[in-house]
């Protein structure tokens, strides 16, 4: 694994957490029930904390003096390296929970591995804290899969549709490129084929209980990891980055 690849690994981890956290934060004040406003804000805060941890590590690995804010606010969409799934718009609550569920199941595998590896102690420390959080996120999103899937006819129909719509974006998790392969060989990241296996098992178990059909499509949308995003990311970043870019000399 080259230094550049090591940096890219940290950046990808940070970007997934950053973009999903930003998406969830959009819900704040608009949730279906007060308890969920609190829960989604909690998850967004965890993700934001993870992003900051991974960005700080990325900045240190890069060695150019970029801090968490420079990485978050002064990169273009093409420089963002998150998976496409996390930038999907919030849609309705079912869409948001399916997006979260598919991501949490993946993140849990990845974060657990990262917390136990010894190649990068700093990243292990970030991941060790994150593991507990992601475990809670996964249990929260799984609970909602059950409630919506096995709730009313309407909720079942809606969440099945969300699942069908978002499923093709999950495949990107498991398409390894040279960075994934190098990091896995070095022992920093898990082998993505193993992750895929564990992910399918985890997801299937919940979907069965939730009386939901696992989509059969094998096609996956991809590109996020290489900076080729959907049309949505540009708007998300425009909103997120407006102040630091308008007033680049200001400290906040």
């Amino acid at each position: 694994m080259t230094a550049e690849q090591h940096f890219q690994v940290a950046l990808r981890l940070g970007d997934d957490a950053m973009i999903l956290g930003q998406r969830l934060a959009e819900w704040c004040g608009h949730g279906p029930v007060l308890e969920e406003d609190i829960a989604m804000s909690n998850i967004a805060l965890d993700l934001l904390g993870q992003a900051r941890g991974y960005y700080s590590r990325a900045g240190a690995l890069e060695g150019l003096g970029r801090d968490e804010d420079q990485l978050a606010f002064f990169r273009t969409d093409q420089e963002y390296r998150n998976h496409l799934l996390v930038e999907r718009p919030n849609g309705h609550f079912g869409d948001t929970m399916v997006r979260q569920f598919l991501f949490d199941a993946f993140s849990l595998e990845r974060t657990q591995f990262l917390a136990n590896q010894t190649v990068d102690e700093d990243m292990a420390a970030v991941a060790a804290k994150a593991v507990k959080e992601v475990r809670y996120h996964f249990s929260h999103s799984s609970q909602w899969m059950l409630r919506l899937g096995d709730g009313t006819e309407e909720s079942h129909r809606k969440v099945q549709q969300s699942l069908d719509d978002l499923w093709p974006y999950a495949g990107e998790f498991f398409v390894a490129d040279d960075i994934d392969e190098a990091a896995s060989l070095a022992g920093l990241l898990p082998d993505l084929s193993h992750v895929a296996h564990a992910w399918h098992a985890r997801v299937s178990e919940v979907l069965i209980q939730a009386t939901l059909q696992k989509p059969t499509t094998t096609w996956s949308q991809r590109g996020g990891k290489h900076g080729i995003h959907s049309e949505h990311l540009g708007f998300l970043l425009a909103e997120m980055q407006v102040l630091p870019r308008t007033y680049p000399d200001a400290a906040w």
Partner: protein, 321 residues
């Protein structure tokens, strides 16, 4: 009133006058219960409507640290709403009923949240002034005669004072920042100053519920007393920030030992209370829409819980031979 009721009422009043706490199961006069429901629910509604003006800037917070702090703050406000709805439920009214009253426009919430947040310094000004004024209003409520409300307020006030400090921190950073940032800070103070003073409510002579609430130990200080206290506390803080409070009549009165300040525009206050503030319609529409768009989710959760409960009973039922 029957002799028994008269006796109960007299005992209640003596109890309250003795600074003792009334608990949900205790007897209380109907008017006391109604006053509390009105006040606590208004307070709860203010917390959740109050999430909106600040929620407006979460996605645009200018640093990741500020984003975390703001998100955590707005989340705290949701938590305050939750404690307060729970406190209100102890008086025999459900959260759903309370929300219906909010959505129909029957229940009020603090008018301050009907003003827009137009620049990032508004996050500072709200924390500093609006949470600051809320603390002034709420600290005395920690000793309120109704136990569940008093206990909720102890938790709420602790968090509000964090919010106030964080808000002041934003103002300080902006006031000491670039020329643009200083201008934003001054602009925010200009827009939030008068609405903050209005948060204490009409002056004592015009305040319809004050006297009775004082007697019941729901209210401890008059609106004007609290407003004066707030002005006296805030003026030196504004000086520290190097910002100008938008009131040409503001000056220290040696004789009174307080600051004099200019007249409040009560016409504006009444208009905003009546629904004509810059954001009344948007705020209420946002709350209604969240509630309506969430209906299928709440129904699903209820249906699932019901099914789970049924499965539990049927699995524990003894098998017939």
């Amino acid at each position: 009133m029957s002799p028994v009721e008269m006796n109960l009422e007299a005992r209640f009043e003596a109890y309250v006058a003795d600074e003792k706490k009334i608990e949900p199961k205790d007897w209380m006069p109907d008017a006391y219960r109604k006053t509390l429901i009105r006040q606590i629910s208004q307070h709860a509604h203010s917390e959740i409507v109050g999430m909106l003006p600040e929620g407006n800037w979460i996605t645009r917070a200018p640093s990741l640290k500020r984003k975390s702090i703001l998100l955590a703050k707005v989340q705290d406000e949701a938590g305050h709403g939750l404690y307060l709805y729970s406190a209100c439920e102890t008086l025999g009214v459900s959260r759903d009923e309370l929300l219906d009253d909010l959505h129909s426009g029957k229940a009020k919430y603090s008018s301050i949240f009907n003003y827009p947040t137009l620049n990032w310094a508004d996050m500072g000004a709200i924390g500093w002034l609006v949470d600051g004024a809320a603390i002034m209003n709420q600290v005395p409520l920690c000793k309120c005669s109704y136990g569940p409300y008093a206990r909720a307020m102890v938790r709420v006030c602790k968090e509000e004072s964090f919010h106030q400090r964080q808000g002041f921190q934003i103002m300080l950073t902006m006031a000491q920042g670039t020329a643009d940032q200083r201008a934003m800070a001054q602009d925010a103070l200009n827009r939030w100053w008068w609405p903050s003073l209005m948060m204490f409510g009409p002056s004592d002579a015009e305040s319809p519920h004050s006297a009775q609430s004082m007697k019941w130990n729901i209210k401890r200080f008059s609106n004007d007393e609290l407003r004066q206290k707030f002005v006296d506390m805030t003026v030196p803080q504004a000086e520290l920030l190097g910002l100008t409070i938008p009131d040409p009549d503001l000056r220290w009165n040696e004789e009174r030992g307080h600051h004099d300040f200019g007249p409040i525009d009560w016409t504006e206050f009444q208009e905003v209370v009546q629904g004509n503030g810059p954001c009344n319609k948007e705020r209420l529409a946002a709350r209604r829409s969240a509630h309506e768009r969430g209906a299928w989710v709440r129904e699903a959760a209820a249906a699932y819980a019901e099914k789970q409960a049924q499965r539990k009973t049927s699995s524990t039922e003894p098998h017939a031979a």
